[in-house]
Amino acid sequence: MTAAATSAQDPAPAPGAQGPAPAVSVRGLLKSYGDVEAVRGIGFDVHAGEIFGFLGPNGAGKSTTISMLCTLVRPSGGAARVAGHDVVGERDEVRRNIGLVFQDTTLDGYLTAEQNLRLHAELYGVPRELVLERMRQVMEMVGLWERRGSRVNTFSGGMKRRLEIARGLLHSPRVLFLDEPTVGLDPQTRSSIWGYIRELKAREDITIFLTTHYMDEAEYCDRIAIMDQGRIIVLDTPETLKANIGKDRVQIQTGDDRAAIDALREHFGIEATVAEGAVTFGVADGEQFVPRLFAELGQPIRSVSVSRPSLDDVFMSYTGTTIRDAEASQTDTRRNFAKMMSR
């Protein structure tokens, strides 16, 4: 693990800064479970009205962070304010002002869609005279108004997720938290979920805070924070992050990766690594480089792919590994940990 991670720790706290108060404000937030530090002191602000993405491999601490912001998990240290309220001291105030969509469904399958929403409206104290109209708005938005009388048990995974988004909006929260909103859904449903998220931003006065481990989805956020191993590694707009890389990504399949890496260093002065089973490196102008590569590498190449910098590359340049490989090694770590514990 090469720690290319530079200091993206706490942004300078800006007391009395101009503009609207941040929707979410986090300073030095910590969470540890025994010896395991899930979140190691992070700090950031989410501006009101933006789509803010938390990106990182599974186990990076995203869900723990979101749980702390939603008052479901008590922080071990640091402070966080959501919609202007402290997550520890003003728990109910925070809860009233946030909407939540979890990774796993939290609907009652025995009730109809409408009954689920009505129950939510009652729990959140939505004024009675507004319930019906508001319910219709949010259900129409996700295209489920016609199905309001059906039991949730009969819904597909995508429909359930849409219903949960509608439910999360029912009480007009100021911040909507979406924890991996598209995980486990087919591409078409994912795209429609993203449609709703974008539409929401256009229609309602709302801040959206979401976590994902899909790089391509992170591109739809206004700003993203990349999280790895309990820390925020970098936080910026997707465009800036990609622009900072400034290189195309080239991946080649060879018969002998080690020899290819040596040859790249020798002939081109390029440092390459093996990622996702291919020799991977960045060059300024990938497409023009490929002919030179074939001519001068002196190693058989089976296939080449060149891609514009993506957030994957951003992740890689900051963490030295791809998100997929990071997840794989996380699993290894966990497995080793479990082995250790069972001894």
């Binding site: 939603c70 008052t71 479901l72 998990v73 008590r74 109910d92 105030e93 809860r95 009233r96 002002n97 939540l100 979890f102 796993d104 469904t105 939290t106 609907l107 009652d108 399958g109 025995y110 009730l111 009954q115 129950l119 939510h120 009652e122 729990l123 959140y124 104290g125 939505v126 004024p127 507004l130 109209e133 508001r134 708005q137 949010v138 029912l170 009480h171 007009s172 591409p187 994912r190 795209s191 429609s192 993203w194 449609g195 974008r198 539409e199 931003k201 256009a202 229609r203 309602e204 006065d205 899909y214 790089m215 391509d216 989805e217 591109e219 739809y220 996702e276 792919s305 994957d312 997929r324």
Partner: protein, 299 residues
């Protein structure tokens, strides 16, 4: 490679006139807590009414005790019952039993709720946990009492008259017992997160409680060890007043009454029926309090 996912196409933003009217959620008040209690209670009723199978299956055990045990053992027992049908004797116990199983299943649904995630929806709501627990217990008590009413309707079949005072008193007692049992179950469900363990534990608690309670034997003249266990058993204090109510409406000999309905005594003091109901109420409230504390602590 990372090409399995096609990037989502974004629909154009809608025109601003389409804006959704916001809802201002008022600050928490006693009214919002009441709404929470009511909606949790109502959910219990909706779910129960949807589950016809559960209504039927919860009746199996009471029917077995009433008609199979009551009929099967009646010849054997006729010498000692002074002419009272054994079915009539076990009827008060069966009235309790009908309520117990349904109340237990109601509490058990909390374990499912946790497993299927719905519990989370309730736990993150901006209401007191005590409102949620109270709503759940009241809901369990209501559906269980409904089940009790079905058994109450059978009174005529076992020679018990349909007197209004009898029906009201029995229903009130069933409601109380159902509430206490649900509170007991919810208290357990706060700790036990696996359905199998929960069911095993409930069975382990309910069956001995039922057998020791005097539901199937008179509580006087027992061997000392059994008498002690009987007096400790909380269910005794629900079955005994139930039997007093039923027997007060029967025209039977004094000998039969003193044998079959001797009443619970504490060191030869006859505990009044109202005090017995008080024992159930106090225990129910104590368990409700523990359940609330446990759920308030859970994150």
């Amino acid at each position: 490679m990372s090409t399995t996912y096609t990037a989502p196409s974004i629909p154009p933003p809608l025109d601003p006139s389409h804006q959704i009217a916001g809802v201002r959620v008022p600050v928490r008040s006693a009214g919002s807590e009441l709404r929470a209690i009511k909606v949790v209670w109502k959910r219990e009723l909706i779910r129960f009414s949807r589950d016809r199978l559960r209504i039927l299956t919860s009746l199996v055990q009471p029917f077995l005790f009433l008609f199979v045990l009551g009929t099967g053992l009646s010849r054997l027992a006729s010498a000692g019952t002074h002419g009272v049908n054994l079915r009539t004797f076990v009827y008060p116990g069966v009235l309790c039993m009908a309520v117990m199983f349904t109340a237990m299943f109601s509490a058990a649904s909390l374990v499912w709720d946790r497993e299927f995630g719905f519990l989370r929806e309730m736990m993150v709501a901006p209401v007191r946990r005590s409102s949620l627990v109270l709503g759940k217990c009241l809901g369990g008590a209501t559906v269980a009492s409904f089940q009790g009413v079905i058994v109450l309707c059978l009174a005529g079949l076992v020679g018990v008259p349909y007197a209004p005072s009898l029906i009201i008193e029995i229903f009130a007692l069933q409601l109380l017992l159902a509430f206490a049992i649900t509170a007991f179950g919810v208290m357990i469900a706060a700790r036990i997160t696996q359905m199998q363990s929960f069911m095993a534990l409930m069975q382990m608690a309910i069956m001995p409680m039922y057998f020791l309670s005097g539901a199937i034997f008179p509580v006087a003249g027992l061997p000392q060890w059994l008498e002690i266990l009987n007096r400790i058993d909380p269910l005794t204090y629900a079955v005994d007043p139930m039997r007093r109510i039923v027997f007060s409406h029967l025209k039977i000999s004094a000998a039969a009454r003193s044998t079959l309905d001797p009443g619970v005594t504490w060191w030869s003091w006859h505990v009044p029926g109202l005090a017995e109901a008080g024992v159930v109420a106090v225990l129910g409230l104590a368990m409700l309090t523990i359940a609330i504390v446990e759920f308030s602590r859970a994150e």
